[in-house]
């Protein structure tokens, strides 16, 4: 366990080095958030249709999405891991006296955390004090906030487990780009990154609910705004835990299987 923690720490500090990049990222995400909010504002201004989610709830959804982007995008690429696999340096990793799944999991987790810590705090801090239509409203009470924090954290763990599957697949395909890009695009759509899940048509929502993707992004954000009531949130957490266990199990198993057949590529 100690080894995992230190890998985690190392990565965290490593990620914190890139403060200028984070600043640029924040500016980009603010612009992005404004644009998306303005689009929805225009959609909602017609007023004739009763929407399944209010504009205020939607705005908090969008700001949280921008702030925690590093938590929820599938395609958070770590070229180092890819290179390990394709160049054959994986051999060194295998010599290490700790499980490779846990090691990589800690690495990826720390990377996302570092990136999010740098970006989410400033975005949320500013978004809380924006003028009216764009303001990120604070959660209604403390218990909602605690629920949000918990679901967000679980969502992050699910997302890392999902992305581990992507890295493991590289053992088989050796070419990281094409197939993973498709997987990422599909996954992000199903997580409500392109349009929020409540605005999707019902048949699509039914599909989305069956898959793990929405539990990492859509679910915590709606818990935050109170769009998902208390009781449903608790059930949701159980589902999150189930998915997490399943995904880690699959990942562990697939990794063990892939490693048994791994061909070290020269190097």
């Amino acid at each position: 366990m100690k080894a995992y923690v230190s890998v985690f720490k190392l990565r965290l500090f490593h990620g914190m080095q890139y403060r200028a990049a984070a600043l640029a990222g924040i500016a980009t995400q603010f612009f992005w958030g404004f644009i998306i909010i303005m689009v929805y504002e225009a959609f909602y201004s017609q007023g004739s249709i009763d929407a399944p989610i209010s504009l205020d709830e939607l705005i908090s959804y969008i700001w949280l999405q921008q702030a925690f982007l590093a938590f929820i995008i599938l395609w958070f690429r770590d070229n180092e891991l890819f290179q390990l696999i394709t160049t054959g340096n994986i051999a060194y990793e295998l010599c290490r006296p700790s499980g490779i799944y846990g090691l990589w999991y800690a690495k990826l987790l720390a990377q996302r955390l570092a990136s999010a810590l740098l970006r989410s705090m400033p975005i949320i801090a500013v978004a809380l004090f924006l003028p009216q239509p764009y303001q990120l409203l604070p959660p209604s009470d403390l218990s909602t906030f605690l629920l949000f924090a918990m679901t967000l954290l679980l969502g992050l763990l699910i997302m890392v487990a999902l992305s581990m599957l992507m890295y493991i697949s590289v053992f088989v395909t050796l070419s990281p780009s094409g197939s993973l890009l498709m997987f990422a695009v599909l996954g992000e759509f199903l997580a409500g990154m392109v349009i929020p899940v409540p605005l999707m048509p019902i048949w699509l929502q039914n599909i989305v609910n069956l898959l793990p993707f929405r539990y990492s992004a859509d679910f915590p954000f709606r818990v935050y705004s109170g769009h998902i009531p208390y009781n449903d949130a608790l059930t949701g957490i159980l589902i999150q835990l189930a998915w997490l266990a399943a995904l880690i199990g699959i990942g562990w198993f697939a990794m063990a299987k892939a490693l048994r057949r791994v061909v070290v590529q020269g190097g």
């Binding site: 992005w32 404004f34 998306i36 225009a42 070419s175 780009s177 759509f189």
Partner: protein, 260 residues
Amino acid sequence: MRLYWKYVVILFKSQMQYRASFWLLALGQFLVPFSVFAGLYFLFERFEQIEGWQFHEVALCFAVIHMSFSLSECFARGFDNFSGMVANAEFDRVLVRPRGTIIQVLGSKFEFTRAGRLVQSLLVLAWAVSRLPVEWTLLKAVTLMLMVISGTFIFTGIFILAATLCFWTVQGLEIVNIFTDGGRQMAQYPLQIYRKWVTRFFTFIIPFGCVNYLPLLYILDKAPGNEWLYMLAPLAGIVFILPCLFVWRIGVRHYRSTGS
């Protein structure tokens, strides 16, 4: 120009060496805007219109902007990756060759997989054109072409500006994404739906409005007053590249090799 095509052919051949990877990437590139378009479709299914704009009209806007973006990403990718060229001083080699710098940087990289994106937006374009209840004339077709070309020039101009910044910063700047990716995201919808300050900035500073809004009014017969002005608005987008090229020249003169 002949030199340029030679670059294109060589790079095409080299990318075709990894055929399976090429097709998969192209397919992935096809899916990226497709998912965005699906989102657009679902939104319109629910809300029916956005400030008086119908789905097909917005689809046309979407197609034009994505076409321009993929074209410029395909051809001007060299500028997009320029920071690498400065950082490892590859640009020194460019300078000693007896050809213009711009053509060499342009020719340094082509992203043919972006064809996937292009195909997707072409399909959307064809579909939107066939569905729009607009009488198509030759002039309107020309305007549509101009819109795509002008958009390509604007995105290329932004890529060049971003590359020029590298002469001073060496590292690439993520902030430029506001104008490339952000501009693309924003220009998917007719510019009129945004707040005034956004509209103004993206009409007079970076002329996206001349690509996706003013000529669109002409095509949809919504233009008030002098139609010619609206029709020729895309030319302003093409002119945008001139100051960018000028800034590039200044940048080249300031270039100091990193020496590595």
